[in-house]
């Protein structure tokens, strides 16, 4: 079996190497003439997407797209998160792309773009004109898709973090959503009674704990990277944030929840076992959905900005792989699905918004989840920053997330974990430059 492990690995590697030598330099320079010549024929685009409700919404909209574009079929393959990145990378390395249309998670953007695997889109965006209104996308979201002065991804949906809390429990105690870390810790402690935890936390090693803790870091006035991209984790603010985080975990998180991630926290909150969680803003409508997971508690949840007001931003992007032959058709679809008009349609159907115009739209507010919700989401998006936006962000995020987890589980002291996280993150970022 160990050998077969190697075989598996080297299999991919050999594919990789053949291609690496084969397509050096050929990266982004496909001839556009070829695809233009195909315009009259029917083309099937193979798309890969994550198995999430937002993808389902897009899938349902494909029929509408086909009414306007009968010659372009979009065949969507949906996979769990763990599998899609490997599949996408394999497709990049293949002589001809397995997938014509891909979605890119924000930590992958810089790596994929810098390696030349993604098609630059700025010319096409410009050609789409004022109607398309690219500036309408929330600014922090646009920032992630732009690497070294080129646009490689168009925002698909956001997963910025907000504070989801039980309105009824807060009212009973006469509380308002916490706006500082101290208030958060205090409220969480106050709401911890019996088998109800104040705050369902997600200290699972890797992305999850970093995603949650970074909100603490922002609230304490710290930052992951400065404007020049230099790692600034070794700061008093970071140590304070981690100390507070651990204290809050000890006082108010559910018992034995060191390995908890998104699913577990959601289960605790929807089952009435926790009063708050820091989670994706679009969990609110799901929780308040009558007949949804929360059962009788539906309608009792509220969404607020995270304490401190600056939250961790996550987002998915539409991108065109450099090695697909059908770039023009793929762009037709991306342009269509992200246009102001269809963004509106997508958001009304329950999709997470990325355009300011959609969040301001009265029809969206009315048919969607109400004025209050979209106002909060817009405010969250306005002041949000991703965990990592440089080369090798994925490795940096995982490494820092491991150090944080070691501090929370008591394997390292706060000072040690912060110092190590800072050093390792610097090594990772610098090694790649």
């Amino acid at each position: 079996m160990m050998k077969s492990g190697f075989a598996r690995m080297t299999g991919v590697v050999s594919v990789a190497a053949v291609l690496l030598s084969g397509c050096t330099g050929a990266g982004g320079n496909e001839k556009q003439g070829a695809s233009a010549g195909n315009a009259g024929q029917k083309v099937t685009l193979k798309a890969i997407m994550e198995q999430v409700p937002d993808s389902d919404i897009v899938k349902k909209m494909v029929a509408d797209f086909n009414k306007e574009n009968p010659n372009i079929d979009v065949n969507i393959e949906m996979l769990p998160y763990d599998q899609i990145r490997d599949k996408i990378v394999t497709s990049f390395l293949a002589p001809s792309a397995t997938y014509d249309l891909i979605v890119v998670d924000n930590p992958w953007m810089n790596d994929f773009a810098s390696a030349g695997y993604l098609e630059p889109l700025e010319e096409r965006v410009k050609a789409a004109g004022a109607d398309y209104n690219y500036q309408d996308f929330s600014a922090p979201l646009r920032g992630i898709g732009e690497v070294n002065g080129h646009t490689y991804g168009i925002p698909f949906y956001n997963y910025a973090l907000g504070l989801i809390y039980r309105k009824d429990l807060f009212e009973k105690q006469g509380l308002k959503p916490p706006s500082t870390l101290a208030e958060l810790r205090q409220d969480a402690k106050l709401l911890t009674t019996g088998d109800q935890a104040g705050l369902a936390m997600q200290p699972q090693r890797g992305y999850k704990i970093f995603e949650e803790w970074a909100n603490w870091l922002y609230a304490a006035g710290g930052a992951i990277q400065d404007n020049a991209g230099k790692i600034t984790l070794n700061s008093p603010q970071a140590r304070e944030a981690l100390t507070q985080y651990i204290q809050t975990y000890k006082e108010s998180a559910p018992k034995d929840s060191l390995n908890w991630g998104f699913d577990e926290a959601l289960r605790a909150v929807s089952g009435g076992k926790a009063a708050m969680m820091l989670s994706y803003n679009w969990m609110l409508p799901a929780l308040n959905d009558k007949g949804g997971q929360a059962g009788d508690l539906a309608g009792k949840f509220g969404l607020a900005e995270v304490p401190g007001g600056k939250s961790v931003l996550g987002a998915w992007y539409w991108s065109i792989p450099a090695n697909t032959k059908n770039k023009e058709q793929v762009w037709s679809f991306i342009k269509w699905i992200t246009s102001p008009q269809h963004e509106k349609q997508r958001v009304i159907a329950g999709g997470a918004p990325v355009r300011n115009s959609a969040m301001d739209d009265s029809e969206v507010q009315q048919k969607g989840f109400g004025v209050e919700y979209y106002k909060t989401v817009k405010a969250i998006l306005k002041n949000a920053a991703p965990l990592g936006n440089s080369l090798n962000a994925e490795e940096m995020v995982q490494t820092v997330g491991t150090e944080l987890s070691q501090a929370v589980s008591g394997q390292k002291s706060v000072d040690q974990a912060i110092a190590d996280a800072d050093k390792e993150a610097k090594d990772i970022i610098n090694a790649k430059k």
Partner: protein, 299 residues
């Protein structure tokens, strides 16, 4: 076949190879293609600097990757975790397997049925076992913590101190049957004479076990432990399905580290280097043990 050799070798085209090599050839070709080639290829790239996200970078860097691995504290930590896991799992499997094998051997009725039932865990794919235990042991949903709760016991099976132990117990659950199978076969092949002689001399059952059965069984036990230990070293599925190496780095094992480095961080060369350190280590252990055991037999 019949006359080939005796008739002095009628030569035809492409058959200049000896008969046995010709028969082996198809298998050899397959082995080279799917085993030797990828293995050597991974050896080759462990001396280069190939990264998936850097398509233009592919140079010979000598032992740089190995030096990086050597200096990486994470590598020593995964080695420690892996050996901890192997020791806990295999020793437990050996003891349990031996007890079960002795019981089964003395069983008069329903022996085959019992054996078949005991073997079932082996036939479940490990990733499914991982997921199964992830939910069984989950503090939020799990049956086991809920039952323990009835007795006022509260254990977090995946806390920093417990997680590696819990994973090794899952391995015990799944692979003790393998140990049982090997040891039972060994027990059934033991000669009867020493036992008869011992009984005539009035030896007790504990004496018989420690002075006759275990010494006679030791070659079988060595092989069984070896196979299990090598197999346990490649533990990946439980880690992947349950803890992803956490909390902290408490359950990060070698194979998970290779996976993380190669596929998670795109660094194929470093991943190959790590993998090759394992190959070298395993070779050394194997050669030593086999050399010792053959020397023992010759005496």
């Amino acid at each position: 076949m019949r006359k080939n050799k005796s008739s002095g070798g009628r030569r035809s085209v492409s058959l200049s190879l000896p008969y046995e090599w010709r028969m082996l050839l198809p298998l050899l070709i397959v082995m080279v293609a799917i085993l030797a080639y990828p293995l050597l290829y991974s050896f080759w790239i462990s001396f280069r600097n190939i990264e998936i996200t850097k398509p233009h970078q592919n140079q010979f860097v000598g032992l740089v990757q190995y030096a990086k691995v050597w200096q990486d504290p994470a590598y020593w930590n995964v080695l420690k975790n892996t050996f901890g896991f192997v020791c806990m799992a295999v020793s437990m499997e050996l003891v349990l397997g031996m007890i079960l094998a002795l019981c089964l051997k003395n069983m008069k009725r329903y022996r085959n049925v019992t054996r078949a039932i005991l073997l079932t865990p082996m036939f479940i794919t490990p990733i499914a076992v991982g997921l199964m235990f992830r939910y069984l042991l989950s503090t939020q949903l799990g049956l086991v913590p809920a039952l323990l709760h009835l007795f006022g016991i509260s254990i977090d099976f995946f806390s920093a101190n417990m997680a590696l132990f819990s994973l090794s117990m899952i391995d015990v659950w799944q692979w003790t049957p393998f140990m049982l199978l090997m040891l039972l076969a060994g027990l059934e092949n033991l000669p009867e004479e020493p036992y008869e002689a011992a009984r005539v001399d009035g030896a007790g059952s504990w004496y018989i076990l420690t002075r006759i059965t275990i010494p006679l069984m030791s070659p079988v036990m060595i092989v069984a432990v070896l196979i299990r230990a090598l197999d346990a070293m490649k533990v990946f599925e439980y880690v992947y399905a349950i803890t992803r190496g956490g909390p902290g780095t408490a359950t990060e094992t070698l194979q998970y580290y290779v996976y993380k480095t190669g596929f998670g961080y795109y660094n194929l060369s470093k991943a190959s280097a790590v993998a090759w350190t394992v190959v070298i280590f395993v070779m050394i252990v194997l050669i030593l043990i086999l050399w010792r055991s053959t020397r023992g037999e010759q005496r």
